[in-house]
Amino acid sequence: MTTPSLGLQKAPAPGLKNPVHDAQKIFKVAMNALARPGSLQEMPELGLEVPAPLTQTVAALALTLLDYDTPVYLDPALAQEVDVVDYLRFHTGAPIVALASDAAFALISDPAKMSAISGFAVGTDEYPDRSTTLLIAVDDMTNTSGATLSGPGIKTETEFDAAPLSPAFWPQMIANQTLYPLGVDVLFASPTHVAGLPRSSKISMKEAR
């Protein structure tokens, strides 16, 4: 978990324009997303320019939640981009870890190829909070099809799906739910919205996918 000195080749892209108030707005989006699982929470207009394949929404969440206290795992698509690594290191100071199970946060830019969810930290019986939160970039999210969610934050039940996801994703999240109160929590980040899927959400799949 060591972070070598930055040694940047060039100046990274700028971070949040208004670090105090932008971070508050983005956090509120993330908070509402986890408090109301499956609901699509609209992101504020930030005008962030971020190095690909990092997306603006994932970058915004990362700049809001990460710092030197939060080891972060990058999926291979992100980890191989020097500009992405430099950008995150420069703006957050978060140590980048190779092992998914060491991560407080994981940034996933290519969810179709995402590694097994069981590889991330799920916390311990005494400290279930010592788990990984996944920030997953997606193109689209919907409340008209997909998994049926119920549990805390949901009045009765709600449908939710995001794309692209790997076919293994929902079965893995169902397995994750059985670990409760351990488990990972997920924040989906589309270009315009954020949705949450905490470990407390019960997931059922109506039709075979």
Binding site: V20, H21, L34, T64, T124, D125, E126, D129, P152, G153
Partner: protein, 305 residues
């Protein structure tokens, strides 16, 4: 520094007093707390410019979530006018410049000590509780090492034994406030020292509920629409306090009342503990049986102190 304005304050301190790193740390704890309802997330509580035990946990939670467009209501004992509520409201007005209100319906964030407003809260509101002792098992087992294990193993027998001993001894459960609840069928949680009268309001509440314990360094949460049950037994179901008379000022029934001593001969009256609720009712023409005795600024003893 009491009379400093926000603009003046902003020259020296960050928005909402806390530095951004501290806010991030608290925000992360809040997200975990929401994901595991009722579980107490340890956080690196900071020293605040008010004493531990005087709302530092609630203040840190509010400071971490509040934005420039929020409208803040601050209550203590159900009222906006109690001294510490006044002091804490002043703190946020000074450090954020946000609008403050006494109207429950207008607030986006309500920070409270010891009460839940009578008016049902809505989805766009967040209720922040100040918590002195977050551990519901603490009075039964003073050691953190032990209680942490009990939560991990979902071993709550001790709590049920305590409640049952009450029944054996007093014929009822002799806990009237900070009455323990079970959240989302998993964690036994301390609802903070609200009267048990308020416990049912937590169940399936539309608003997000966040709990901050500064001295004990814990944050926990109840998301909206979450199952919150007060612990009880089949043959001794949970019951809330009942008052024999309505509010003397607004005539409200089924609300929590404060007992006010009127003289040294035992005369007393009961009035709404939720001052905004009471005022609102009186503005709408509801009259209690002792309402002829108006509250005027001229009788305002507090101001003379």
């Amino acid at each position: 520094m009491t009379e400093q304005t926000y603009d003046n304050f902003a020259d020296h301190y960050n928005f909402a007093y806390l530095d951004e790193q501290t806010k991030r740390m608290i925000r992360r704890a809040i997200l975990k707390a929401i994901a595991v309802p009722g579980y107490q997330v340890p956080f690196a509580s900071r020293e605040m410019p008010m004493p531990y035990g005087w709302g530092t946990g609630g203040v840190q939670v509010t400071a971490a979530i509040i934005g420039a467009n929020d409208v803040l209501k601050m209550i203590d004992q159900g009222s906006d006018d109690t001294t510490n509520a006044v002091a804490l409201r002043g703190f946020f007005v000074k450090t954020t410049g946000v609008e403050a209100t006494t109207k429950t319906s207008e607030a986006t964030i309500i920070q409270t000590r010891h009460r839940i407003p009578e008016e049902p809260l809505k989805a766009n509101q967040t209720l922040v509780y100040q918590v002195p002792i977050p551990e519901p098992l603490r009075k039964l087992e003073p050691r953190e090492t032990e209680t942490r294990k009990m939560h991990a193993l979902e071993e709550y027998g001790l709590m049920h034994v305590k409640l049952y001993e009450d029944i054996a001894k007093y014929g009822e459960i002799a806990t009237t406030y900070a009455y323990p609840v079970l959240v989302n069928d998993r964690y036994v949680m301390d609802p903070s020292p609200i009267p048990k009268f308020d416990n049912p309001k937590m169940h399936e509440m539309e608003a997000l509920q966040l709990f901050g314990a500064g001295r004990e360094k814990r944050i926990y949460a109840v998301p909206p629409h979450t199952k919150v049950e007060s612990l009880d037994f089949e043959d001794y179901p949970f019951e809330i306090q009942k008052f024999e008379e309505p509010c003397a000022l607004c005539g409200a029934e089924n609300v929590y009342l404060d007992e006010v001593i009127l003289d040294d001969k035992g005369a007393r009256m009961f009035v709404c503990s939720d001052s905004d609720f009471c005022e609102d009712r009186r503005e709408n023409g509801h009259v209690g049986h002792m309402a002829a005795n108006p509250i005027t600024e001229s009788e305002n003893r507090g101001a003379d102190a």
